[in-house]
């Protein structure tokens, strides 16, 4: 299987005219999760009758937006062989910073969002320096930061914040050409991520560093700066997702906001075919992973599945999705 996924990553590396001609079938073979997702949608539509209603789809998209915004940079980070487990706490800190600036400080929404992004970038930079330049284990460092940043958020903002004003509500509630602003932002992040991987030299370097760091170093590639930048971008993205959540909810709570978010994002990333060992993955896969999680959650709610069954169904669907994605390419080869 490792060869299967890496092979697909490699083939995807250079989208030539031949690859385009091969068309949808090839895409399906590379992204077996697409089939799983289609199956899931079909089942939900047949059983609820309202799953595909525009209103519901809009809801799913809005819910999945924050997930996608963080999943894309995190996927790039994982492809380069690193990991960030602190995004849940960074999201909370971002949400509270944005809310505090927009609410208590009565700053303009732009200042609030920029402030949140700066805080997120700072957290990412700390992660990046420790992991990339000092060579500490990303698992330990970001796990530590998960706790530390949460503690910081609670220390700074022990109270729930709310009432951020109408201007700030624009970020989460505005419609741009009929599409919710968070969805537009998520779409932009997805496109940017995909273009970055496919069409920039640094995007190629991300793969190289993840596949074989030593070989990349000996090839003259800067093996520290690129992952460092990805840490910063991931932190910034988490803070942006936090600001969006704060705007949508018009409130933020330091203790619970974004709790467990890091695992949800990581699940989406891994489900999307990004290897935790680094070196392979695609933005399309991440999108599918995010949509899979979003549809699953929404569909189970629509079906009014009792709480514990819902938990179980989620777990089973995750494992099944991962298994299909895992065995799919092998059988088609």
């Amino acid at each position: 299987m490792t060869t299967a996924t890496t092979a697909t990553a490699a083939e995807r590396a250079v989208p030539g005219p031949r690859a385009l001609a091969a068309g949808g079938l090839a895409t399906l073979r590379r992204q077996p999760l697409l089939l799983v997702l289609a199956l899931l949608v079909l089942v939900f539509q047949l059983s609820t009758g309202s799953f595909l209603d525009p209103g519901n789809l809009r809801g799913i998209a809005t819910d999945a937006a924050a997930l996608a915004i963080v999943a894309v940079p995190l996927a790039l980070l994982v492809i380069s062989g690193y990991l960030d487990l602190s995004v849940g706490s960074t999201l909370a800190l971002g949400a509270l910073t944005a809310g505090w600036l927009a609410g208590e400080q009565a700053q303009s929404p732009v200042v609030a969002v920029v402030g949140a992004l700066a805080v997120g970038a700072a957290v990412g930079a700390v992660n990046g320096v420790l992991c990339c330049y000092l060579g500490l284990s990303p698992f330990i460092v970001t796990l530590g930061m998960l706790a530390a940043v949460r503690g910081l958020a609670q220390q700074l903002f022990p109270l729930p914040l709310s009432g951020f004003g109408d201007g700030f509500a624009w970020l989460g509630g505005a419609r741009i050409a009929g599409i919710a602003a968070p969805v537009v932002i998520a779409g932009a992040v997805l496109v940017a991520g995909a273009l970055f991987l496919a069409y920039t030299p640094t995007g190629r370097h991300v793969f190289a560093i993840g596949v074989n760091r030593e070989a990349a170093y000996l090839s003259g590639i800067d093996v520290r700066r690129t992952p460092f930048a990805l840490f910063v971008v991931t932190g910034t993205a988490a803070a942006l997702a936090g600001a969006i959540k704060a705007s949508v909810l018009d409130s933020a709570v330091s203790g619970t906001s974004g709790a467990g978010f890091e695992l949800t994002v990581l699940t989406a990333v891994l489900l999307g075919g990004v290897a935790l060992s680094g070196g392979s993955g695609s933005v399309l896969g991440v999108l599918l992973g995010v949509l899979f999680l979003g549809c699953l959650q929404n569909g189970l709610t629509l079906l009014s599945v009792p709480t514990f069954w819902q938990q179980m169904a989620q777990g089973v669907a995750l494992v099944a999705g991962a298994a299909l994605a895992y065995f799919g390419p092998r059988t088609t080869r």
């Binding site: 809801g59 208590e104 022990p158 109270l159 709570v253 330091s254 619970t256 929404n298 009014s304 709480t307």
Partner: protein, 344 residues
């Protein structure tokens, strides 16, 4: 479990927040208000206060440190303890039952004279409570009852749910003619949640049998409340009522309805929650369709935390306390201001 009692709280604002002048919208509201501070709740134990005979220290073990209420409780009960020349100490359990057990055992070994503990796992706390009693210490159970204890501080979780359910049913009867659609955001994972859920659902369905129950979904935080409500709204755009097991979850539902196009003051919509959380209280006060919250007053709880151990030490009969829960609606401005002030 860990997010259980989602109270509004406000705390020692600590060094940082000193420069963050106006917290929430509550700044202007003086801490006056009619009810609360001086102990409507600690009625039974109230007489115990003047005798701090032997008690020099009280240990407060409230495990859910991530909740805003933690900060509020520590602040208010420290103040209450100081009034009695008692020193209040706290644990930092970080919602971890193992850490809690370790911390409690340490206190028992150190002979902390009085321990007020909210056990995450009641069965696990029993042996520690027994050890405390055997060592001649005072053990006060918070939020429940153990076999081995000196006294307890109880909350009627079912009562809180019932008050909310009845208010919503009454509103449905008056505004919707007893018809319409309701969604419950509930919690089945812990005892306290099940109590609140049962009180709320039973009271509502009994008094408003004509209203369709279209959903009953697990949600205790705003994020989940929002996404669940979104899904429910996709299927039932004409949803009238969302009742939450916590104010946090209900607040998510409140936002979902607004984002689905509902005006803030929509006359045919009712959202209600429990706890008395600040964002919800503010929404109620502003006259939105967030119309009610079953609120506990943090000051009442803080008073009980200090008064009950003192009452036990003084040898009072029936030292236990039931902290009252009160439904606040849009008319209860003074009540809301008082609650917000306690949190600030």
């Amino acid at each position: 479990m860990t997010r259980r009692p989602y109270f509004v709280a406000a705390a020692s604002r600590r060094q940082f927040l000193t420069w963050s002048a106006g917290a929430l919208a509550t700044t202007g509201l003086a801490a006056s208000g009619c009810s609360a501070p001086e102990g409507s709740g600690s009625a039974k134990a109230a007489g115990a206060s003047p005798s701090p005979t032997t008690l020099s220290r009280i240990g407060l073990d409230y495990p859910f440190t991530q909740l805003p209420l933690y900060t509020t409780l520590v602040k208010l009960s420290t103040a209450a303890a100081t009034k009695h020349d008692v020193k209040l100490l706290t644990t930092s359990d970080a919602s971890n039952p193992d850490t809690q057990a370790t911390n409690l055992n340490t206190w028992v070994a150190q002979k902390m004279p009085a321990i007020v503990s909210f056990p995450m796992v009641f069965e696990a706390a029993e042996s520690i409570a027994k050890a405390a009693l055997d060592a001649g210490l005072i053990w006060v159970t918070y939020g429940g009852t153990l076999e081995n204890q000196s006294a307890d501080i109880q909350f009627s979780f079912r009562e809180g749910g019932r008050l909310l359910g009845e208010a919503a049913a009454k509103w449905a009867d008056e505004e919707l003619g007893g018809k319409g659609k309701v969604a419950f955001l509930v919690d089945n994972t812990i005892e306290l949640g099940r109590e609140r859920t049962k009180g709320m659902v039973d009271a509502f369905t009994k008094l408003a049998p004509g209203v369709d129950v279209v959903a009953q979904e697990q949600a205790i935080d705003p994020d989940t409340g929002l996404s669940k409500s979104n899904a429910i709204l996709a299927k039932h755009p004409d949803l009238n009522i969302v009742l939450g097991i916590t104010d946090a979850a209900a607040y998510g539902g409140f936002k979902a309805l607004q984002q689905a196009g509902r005006k803030k003051g929509d006359a045919k919509t009712f959202v209600g929650g429990q706890d008395g959380a600040a964002p919800s209280l503010l929404a109620i006060k502003q006259g939105t369709f967030y119309r009610a919250s079953s609120a506990l007053a943090p000051q009442d709880i803080a008073n009980a935390i200090v008064d009950v151990p003192l009452a036990v030490a003084a040898g009072k009969a029936n030292p236990s306390v039931q902290v009252p829960v009160k439904l606040v609606g849009s008319g209860d401005t003074a009540e809301i201001d008082a609650l917000l002030a306690q949190n600030a």
